[in-house]
């Protein structure tokens, strides 16, 4: 499986939009998006829906072959997790996906974002377990309790996610490097600054510039100007 699998990931960042990975392996049907409802029709969303509705093991196996190598990479990136822990994380994340697939709503989220969020939560929990945190909370408890139910908002948020994927490749290398440190290696801005030997303010401003370029919308707090370093 791994040979064919690796091929799918030769894509450059420029091509990194939803549907790219399966698209390289076999001819792609039409766009992964169908306006105007924007319902996702990509393979991984379909797999998740099949798992959620029918506990479809074939769909689960397809999803595993695609995502498990990414989850393992995520486990090993910049962390002190051993190969054994990385395999353990792959198992945990894939079992969580199996358990939670019913909660996946293709109208609301891209499959990749949904899977990434689960992987992030499981990795955080594993770190905390290894550091023997005594906490009643799991990382998934920190997700906000409410999602936007409004179809227009859902459409908007899917569109901006799509834009983000499309524009990721255009980011300057220094900004991409910081984002990779923060998201993939799990470093705080302060840790990233220390590791890259940069002032914290530089790290923060690169993150801000990157998010501006990706057109992430955010609220400017009234006192943002006062408290920024």
């Amino acid at each position: 499986m791994n040979d064919s699998h690796d091929d799918r990931h030769q894509d450059s960042h420029e091509d990194n939009h939803e549907g790219t990975h399966e698209g390289a392996a076999k001819p792609r049907k039409s766009p992964a998006w169908s306006a105007p409802t924007g319902r996702r029709t990509d393979e991984w969303s379909e797999c998740l829906v099949l798992i959620g509705e029918k506990q479809d093991r074939a769909a689960f196996t397809r999803l595993f072959r695609h995502f498990a190598p990414l989850i393992k990479a995520f486990a090993l990136t910049g962390s002190t997790l051993s190969a054994t822990h990385a395999d353990e994380l792959v198992q945990e994340v894939m079992l969580k996906i199996w358990q939670k697939a019913k909660a996946f709503n293709p109208e609301k989220a891209a499959a990749s974002t949904w899977v990434y969020t689960i992987a992030r939560n499981c990795r955080t929990d594993m770190y905390r377990r290894l550091q023997k945190f005594d906490t009643p909370l799991a990382a998934e408890d920190f997700s906000p309790e409410q999602d936007s139910e409004e179809p227009f908002m859902q459409l908007q948020s899917r569109r901006s996610a799509e834009k983000i994927r499309a524009m990721m490749g255009d980011l300057p290398a220094d900004q991409k490097q910081i984002l990779a440190k923060v998201y993939m290696e799990g470093r705080s801005h302060a840790e990233a600054a220390a590791e890259l030997d940069l002032p914290l303010g530089t790290v923060k401003s690169r993150v801000r510039l990157a998010m501006q370029k990706l057109q992430v919308q955010f609220e400017h707090s009234l006192e943002a100007g006062l408290s920024q370093s």
Partner: protein
């Protein structure tokens, strides 16, 4: 003093009036999962009030997903796949129900769990006549998570912070020289900031506060008083 349930009804109303939000770097660290546990809890409570920041976070998670899918994959053998497939039968699917937005019991679930009850069930410690506080255990070894209760019209003497401080208004509101803050508002202060918050005259104010607490202080008694030690000496 109002109970959590009474405060709850205001959450929805408050969503439209929120004016103070976490800065982008805090939301990014939240989305990437790199905030400390207590800080993440504080941001999470803000998100329950704030649709706009929820939207930002979902975009910031899309950024993470893009990086995630662009990684060089590691080799995963069929042995691991088979191991997982064998465990599926012992892993029944969960049914998930999201809390509808109009929920009446809107004390954020995360907070209710941490408090193991209502505001009135907590054991509060008086700091001044206008201020009492209670520390809530989250398991975060670095940051303290506590609630502050300021009596209506009460003032906290001017003080600064030894570390960074996140504050989230849960009920009522307060003002200082920079502005006024109501339920759902998020305030982040760096160590050098000095302020003298005063609760609104007509209602008690309850805030959640997350502060740096250096590990060298082992006594919880000493630790939770940290932010207030200076105000007593000046």
């Amino acid at each position: 003093m109002k109970t959590g349930r009474e405060a709850a009804g205001r959450v929805e109303q408050a969503t439209t009036m929120i004016r103070h939000h976490p800065e982008l770097d805090i939301l990014t660290e939240y989305a990437a999962g790199t905030l400390s546990l207590a800080q993440a809890a504080c941001v999470s409570v803000h998100l329950n009030y704030c649709e706009r920041c929820r939207r930002t976070v979902s975009q910031l998670q899309a950024v993470g997903a893009s990086l995630f899918t662009a990684q060089d994959p590691e080799v995963v053998g069929d042995a691991l796949l088979n191991k997982v497939l064998e465990r599926l039968d012992d892993t029944p699917p969960l049914s998930y129900q999201r809390t509808p937005l109009s929920s009446q019991d809107a004390t954020p679930a995360l907070l209710s769990r941490l408090m193991a009850g209502d505001f009135s069930d907590l054991s509060w410690k008086n700091i001044t006549r206008a201020l009492r506080t209670t520390q809530i255990k989250t398991g975060d070894p670095q940051f303290e998570f506590s609630l502050l209760h300021i009596r209506a019209g009460g003032e906290i003497p001017a003080h600064d912070h030894r570390g960074s401080e996140m504050t989230l208004v849960l009920q009522g509101g307060f003002e200082d020289d920079r502005g006024s803050y109501r339920a759902g508002d998020f305030i982040h202060r760096s160590p050098e900031d000095i302020h003298a918050p005063r609760a609104f005259a007509d209602e008690d104010c309850i805030c959640l506060a997350v502060v740096d607490a250096p590990l060298r202080f082992t006594s919880w008694k000493y630790r939770w008083m940290n932010p207030f030690l200076r105000l007593q000496t000046g």
